[in-house]
Symmetry: C2
Subunit: 423 residues, 2 copies
């Protein structure tokens, strides 16, 4: 359950629930419904009751702040049929937090220390809002009382809506608690391989023997996650008695997966296409110059988002007007959307920017054709180790997509050539 009228009004997109859904899937916990509800006590209570009727556990996100519209605590107390009581240990924790930041604590922050009787405060508390683990006995609703339910059959986890606070609490408290309640006595670890170039069915075909093997052994699972233009993720999840065993299973499955997918695996976990390229070039002691026409600065923008990119990237020229291709990059007077132009731009980027490697794009982003080329045509030029190559791709899509796909295609070409060179 995500709480906040601003979510219903579409002022904020609820990415917290998506993140939690992914984590639950990863931890092997079925998640059947996600609900957004506004800052309204009656509707929150109704939503909690519906959620508890159809699920064993409910994670609620948001509404734990210090302002009057933060009423998640009150709604949970109503559902539990208990009162809110100020928790002095939490009061001290909040006071200490303000003290450390050398800030005055507004009095209304103490409201965050109000805890439904019978609820437990999470140990992990990254911000001023404590997370709550609230046992709920369903069946016989009664008036508010000071008696906590002896041992709730069901449970509500309340976490703040601030993403980094929520993520820490869910990872370190909610998921382990859920797994313990489910009688889970294993550790669950995962690794994500980032791939580019295969479709989901293509990857599934390659990994079919390994997935069939894992079906038998049960030591791990493999799942695919589409990440739009950033390719497909292959997530390996291992369940084992301890960390060491889980890690060994992950490594073994990862090697087998890499062996069949090959260089379409561009990285793992938090790697991005651009971070991998910066690392590869740095390890090979190479510098890069860009000449981007159709991608208009997107390749440079992605590479320069990587901290330390300055050790690799010399710079870029965006010769958007045809004359610049000639005047600045020294390209010959050939068709602007052609193999020859892509090659000349890549070579020019090396020369003008003093780089070892030159990468260039030229094409017709659309909506109209450009220099005789259909909208969606992208030529990629690469100049490396004194030689050049050009390749052509065509995307039958809108302008923004053509530019984005041209960008990642160019980056991937550079990556594969660096790999071939290094290996």
């Amino acid at each position: 359950m995500a709480v906040g009228t601003e979510l219903l009004l579409g002022q904020i997109v609820d990415t917290n629930s998506s993140w939690i859904g992914e984590q639950l899937a990863l931890a092997g916990i079925d998640s059947h419904f996600q609900t957004k509800v506004g800052d309204n006590l009656d509707r929150m209570v109704a939503a909690f009751e519906q959620a508890l009727d159809r699920s064993d556990a409910v994670i609620v996100c948001g509404g734990l702040g210090p302002t009057p519209d933060d009423i998640t605590r009150a709604a949970i107390a109503a559902v539990m049929g208990v009162e809110l009581r100020r928790d002095e240990a939490v009061v001290e924790r909040i006071r200490a937090m303000f003290y450390r930041r050398d800030r005055q604590m507004p009095a209304n922050n103490l409201q965050q220390a109000d805890v439904p009787v019978g609820a437990r405060v999470m140990d992990v508390q990254p911000g001023t809002a404590p997370g709550l683990i609230c046992p709920v006995r369903r069946g016989e609703p009664g008036p508010a009382t000071a008696d906590p339910p002896a041992d709730g059959e069901k449970v509500i986890y309340a976490v703040p809506g601030v993403p980094w606070e929520m993520q820490k609490m869910v990872s370190e408290c909610v998921l382990p608690d859920l797994q313990a309640r489910a009688g889970e006595r294993h550790v669950i670890r995962s690794r994500t391989l980032r791939t580019w170039g295969y479709s989901e069915s293509g990857l599934a075909e390659l990994l079919e023997p390994e997935m069939r093997r894992l079906d038998t052994t049960g030591e791990a699972t493999i799942a695919f996650l589409a990440s739009g233009m950033e390719g497909l993720k292959v997530r390996i999840t291992a369940k084992a008695a301890d960390d060491e065993t889980a890690g060994a299973v992950l490594s073994a499955v990862e090697s087998r997966a890499r062996a069949v997918i090959g260089e379409a695996v561009f990285g793992a976990d938090d790697d991005t296409m651009e971070s991998v390229i910066v690392a590869l070039m740095q390890s090979q002691g190479l510098t890069l110059g860009l000449a981007e026409s159709v991608t208009g600065g997107l390749i440079a923008a992605r590479l320069t988002d990587v901290p330390g990119a300055s050790r690799v990237l010399r710079g870029a020229v965006v010769p958007y007007d045809r004359e610049i291709k000639t005047d600045v990059l020294g390209a010959p007077d050939v068709n602007a959307v052609s193999s020859d132009m892509a090659l000349a731009m890549a070579e020019g980027a090396c020369r003008v920017l003093g780089a070892d490697v030159g990468l260039a794009t030229t094409g017709a982003a659309g909506p109209d054709p450009h220099e005789g080329a259909d909208a969606g045509t992208v030529w990629i030029g690469l100049h490396l180790d004194g030689g050049g190559e050009a390749s052509r791709v065509r995307f039958n899509m809108a302008r923004t997509m053509v530019r984005q796909l041209g960008t990642i295609t160019a980056l991937n070409l550079l990556r594969t050539r660096l790999l071939a060179r290094g290996g």
Copy 2:
């Protein structure tokens, strides 16, 4: 209700519901809950029944495609207590669509023509999936029958999950039908002013007299929507007996709002900062050259996303390495993060790229300081009509944010100078 297991797994973020929530708010229709549910018949039926118990109308998005996991039609039929019947008019519409695209129609596409008895097919059908308006009588559930409910007290609107198809159906069918059911006999029109530079409270203060006036007359409302780094939107919504009156009210309120907000209004409705700049420069007959160090191509990438940008943008140099600032742009050997460097880069961009106007950025994106400047420092240089100016901003944020905020700040500086020049 958003339908799709991939939503629960977090593989896709549900932006459709956010969009619909925004449209409902704009149309003055209260929206109290949003639910995501997977591709599971029992759970979809349960979710529909809960939704109908607590609301007068339900919009369901997704699950109308031709594959076996598209079961929204079947779930609605179960909730209505009716059968699905193939609608021959819809069959013809789908066949014609494939014929026009010169594509073979897979047989399973005809499944999309199955309509619950008593439901009405929406007139607007941008894709192969028809939208459905399904009256539902609540109270006495019974077995499936061929008899439609005589006149449903409540209603389910089913629209596809493909955003552009969904948006067209919601705007042109669902909202008018909802307003008609609510006895609404007015037209509702809105205009959005895009602003950059004010906080929400700053805008609220400026617009307070106008908002107080509108509270009295009731002819329109003003609402604020935060759009992150793209500034704040001021949405004016007018309700009137007819289009003409609504339009006149909108125009009058818009002028008064623009008069107090001033040039912080950079555009209206679908305008973006970059589309406004391309239009301004084109109307003034000016061309632009960029020299981007700290923003690393982001300004060029945004401007080149505008169709027709080539009539204005000559090109860009991204002198990421210090030497390129000197070698390519001819900047003097001064501190790379300084007023002098920003000015020299802007002037160099004009000269090297043959442009009328030069815009430059240099700074320290972080996480580390750079050339003696703290992380987060951005110098912006502008060369225009033979004169130059430089300004410094400092963002105490992460690398990506510094680069993004530097980009929009530079674009906004250019915009205000173009306005001053034009006026």
